[in-house]
């Protein structure tokens, strides 16, 4: 049952990137990509808990969710959505540059992704500050007082009854938990990007071994997609009036 595979041994000597426990580079690449997809699956389950909570509470406290949602800025949210979609484009271009072995282009596109990620986090910080000033942070400085009066911007909304107004805390709890977890993923992403840029500058991913950049790209796109779901769910509830 033991047999030798001469071609595998030949491969060993060829590529400096082949780790000792893989038979060949193709197996190595497939393995890491598969691992990355599985990791993203765990991430889906991680965010899934939050989405599940959102689904239930939105059904129960729909008026509170509408009122809470109307306090968010569509302009900032939409800008952030655009920023993230652009960053997905720059990330895709970074992967392409890596494939084409263009070192400077790779560094450039990665830097552009970092900048866009930074812009997103900056805008998010502005939004968080606004929430703080409006006393919309549950637990720390929350006040439901604003929700028991008519909202001048949304004349069709009825003011909430006091007990429903209290339920806006659930909306804002979920808002902070979901966007906070997303922002944490962005911060981790940007930190990894900084390492990637430094290594890419040294020529790391432009000599035929690009799995790291490719897999990081998957992560980055995943984080973008989470936002694509968060934006309508949190910002766009009953905005049609």
């Amino acid at each position: 049952m033991i047999a030798t595979h001469p071609e595998e041994h030949a491969e060993h000597e060829h590529s400096p990137y082949l780790r000792h426990h893989f038979a060949n580079l193709e197996q190595q690449r497939e393995t890491s990509t598969f691992g990355m997809w599985l990791f993203l699956l765990t991430e889906i389950m991680f965010f899934g808990g939050l989405f599940c909570a959102y689904l239930i509470y939105r059904n129960w406290y729909y008026p509170a969710f509408v009122a809470g949602s109307h306090q968010l800025s569509i302009a900032l949210g939409a800008t952030n959505t655009a920023v993230l979609i652009c960053s997905s484009f720059t990330m895709a271009m970074a992967v392409y540059s890596s494939e084409m072995r263009w070192r400077k282009a790779l560094v450039g596109w990665l830097l552009a992704t970092i900048v866009l990620g930074g812009v997103f986090l900056g805008i998010k910080a502005v939004e968080y500050r606004e929430k703080w000033e409006k006393r919309h942070v549950p637990g720390l400085n929350f006040s439901a007082a604003g929700f028991t009066h008519q909202d001048p911007n949304y004349p069709e909304d009825k003011p909430l009854a006091p007990d429903m107004a209290e339920k806006t805390q659930v909306y804002f709890s979920l808002y902070f938990a979901m966007t906070g977890m997303h922002a944490l993923h962005m911060i981790i992403g940007v930190s990894i990007l900084i390492i990637l840029v430094i290594r890419a500058w040294g020529g790391a991913y432009t000599q035929g071994h690009m799995t790291t950049v490719e897999n990081f790209g998957l992560y980055w796109h995943f984080v973008d997609i989470v936002w694509i779901f968060l934006f309508p769910l949190l910002y766009l509830i009953s905005r049609h009036q």
Binding site: F22, L38, M45, G49, C52, P138, G139, S173
Partner: protein, 553 residues
């Protein structure tokens, strides 16, 4: 149908000159290793430490319950005791027990690979486990936690001033260690199989680890986010589970049990894998209904995700959903029963020998069957309302987890000890230990079924005097059980230096791991193996040994 294989006399065996154990020396070579076998040993040492810490708390619980009043310790100290016992045993012992030690050691070898797919992530997973363990010990030394291992809200978020945050973080971190282990296994089993090692030639050990890994990968992240929400609720005061702010504490239970019920299968499935290997080897027969056993693991993994609400029948879920979950709970008993029946049929007309791993495996089959069947009692709603939150529940899950999983773990450790260390454990005393464990276990936990049925609630330091006789029996049993667990620790340590040299295949077993030297080389195989036979093919082994002399060393 069984085939007896005679290999060259193991007395002449000698330890190989080079192996993974002496490839490199020094603490650094262990702490920075990428070798799955060394990481398995690191895990084995750390889970053993935590097992005995958790066992200490169990001892304290049993000591307190020796007498009816709460006299040895105050009631809140008692709460901390059972909480620490639960947290340590579940998250730091049972979840990583078989997969992270035996599985880590064997899965690459069984699929014919040189290592797991991601050696660095494997090492990272051990470090995360250790960090989680240190956080648990920190929570313990700072003053303990008394939520119970279930962290039930709003008790954990509002009404306790113990170290819930530290303990929650610990489980969060340890959870990632288990996610990474599962991820590594799945990728390895998919992508690293040797030429000729098809899915249906994989040993059942690999199948059951595959199913458990799916549960780890899909379930653990949900626990992670749930704990994050509990911690945020405690630290900041967000309102996801807080009824005062509109949150629903029941949602916490749903999310928690969505992980923690599958976690039961994370714990038990790898044990099933061990039992399949042991039963087949010591009956000299292919596992009866290989495909059924393989798919029953997968079925358990799938059904396991849809039964969580049976932990919540008395907690205000709707009658209709309780009905559905009750039905699904009965269904999940079917694949478990398939396994038990298939193992029994494997024994039928086999050439059975009674080595220590086999004794543990017999213990497993008996005790797991009782544990599983009482699970069906608890899954039917009427019975559950009477029995839940009593000692019946405690007895039920200890039969599954301790009688089942711990027996399987010990069976596995004894079975593969020669492969891991190159030396045999002492046969006589280990049989005694297996017997002691079995007797001690039954004496400890069987009275608890009766106590629970009579209505003694769990998680109280005091109880009415009429329950004392059964509690004394249980405490006496726990003492015997403790001896049964300390014995292996002693003689296995002894055997590291004085045990008989095992040789490569002391059990005349068929798996790939038995065809290489013990202890294995760092790269496992000298050349990539090509597999052209089914798992448990004793005919193949017989033919093989006819033609060639087994080389040892």
């Amino acid at each position: 149908m069984s085939t007896i294989v005679m290999l060259p006399d193991q007395q002449t065996a000698s330890l190989p000159k080079r192996s993974y154990l002496n490839e490199e020396y020094g603490l650094k070579s262990w702490l920075l290793t990428g070798d799955h076998k060394r990481i398995a040993i690191l895990y084995l040492i750390s889970i053993t430490i935590f097992f005995f810490i958790g066992g200490f708390f169990a001892g304290m619980i049993r000591l307190e319950l020796l007498t009816p009043p709460s006299d040895l310790m105050a009631a809140d100290t008692y709460n901390k005791m059972f909480t620490m016992h639960g947290i340590i045993m579940v998250f730091l012992f049972l979840v990583p027990s078989v997969p992270a030690t035996i599985g880590n050691f064997l899965i690459p070898i069984m699929v014919g690979a040189k290592d797991l797919a991601f050696p660095k992530i494997n090492l990272l997973s051990w470090y995360l486990y250790v960090l989680g363990g240190i956080l648990v010990l920190a929570a313990l030394t700072l003053g303990g936690v008394d939520t119970g291992w279930t962290f039930t809200t709003p008790l954990s978020t509002h009404y306790l001033n113990t170290h819930v945050i530290t303990a929650g973080l610990a489980i969060f971190v340890a959870g990632f260690s288990s996610i990474f282990t599962g991820l590594n296994f799945i990728v390895t089993i998919h992508r690293m199989r040797a030429p000729g090692m098809t899915w249906f030639r994989l040993p059942l050990f690999v199948w059951s680890h595959y199913a458990a890994s799916v549960l780890m990968v899909l379930g653990t992240p949900v626990l992670a986010i749930t704990l994050v929400l509990v911690i945020l609720e405690r630290v900041i005061g967000i309102g996801v589970f807080d009824p005062a702010k509109g949150g629903d504490p029941l949602l916490f239970q749903h999310l928690f049990w969505f992980y923690s019920h599958p976690a039961v299968y994370i714990m038990i499935l790898p044990g099933f894998g061990v039992i399949s290997e042991v039963i087949s080897t010591f009956s000299r027969k292919r596992v009866f209904g290989y495909t059924a056993v393989a798919f029953s693991s997968v079925a358990i993994a799938v059904f396991g995700f849809f039964v969580w609400a049976h932990h919540m029948f008395i907690m205000g879920v709707s009658n209709y959903s309780a009905l559905v979950f009750s039905l699904l709970t009965m269904l999940v008993a079917v694949p478990s029963a398939i396994k038990i029946f298939n193992w029994s049929f494997t024994l039928y007309k086999g050439s059975i020998t009674f080595e220590t791993p086999m004794l543990y495996a017999f213990g497993f089959i008996g005790l797991f069957t009782i544990g599983g069947l009482t699970g069906v009692f608890l899954g039917s709603m009427g019975m559950d309302i009477h029995l839940t939150e009593t000692y019946f529940i405690v007895a039920h899950f200890h039969f599954v987890m301790v009688g089942g999983m711990l027996m399987a773990f010990l069976a596995g450790i004894h079975f593969w000890w020669p492969k891991m260390t190159g030396r045999m454990y002492p046969e006589g005393i280990s049989k005694l230990a297996a017997l002691t464990t079995f007797i001690g276990f039954n004496l400890t936990f069987f009275p608890q079924f009766i106590l629970g049925y009579l209505g003694m609630p769990r998680r109280y330091a005091a109880y009415p005097p009429e329950f004392q006789v059964l509690n004394v029996l249980s405490t006496a049993g726990a003492t015997v059980l403790g001896v049964g667990y300390v014995l292996p620790l002693l003689y296995l340590a002894w055997s590291l230096k004085y045990g008989k040299i095992a040789g490569s295949n002391p059990w005349q077993a068929t798996g790939l791991e038995w065809q290489i030297q013990s202890p294995p080389l760092t790269t496992n195989f000298v050349e990539t193996p090509v597999v052209d036979y089914e798992a448990y093919d004793y005919e193949w082994l017989a033919n093989k040994t006819k033609h060639e002399v087994q080389t040892v060393g």
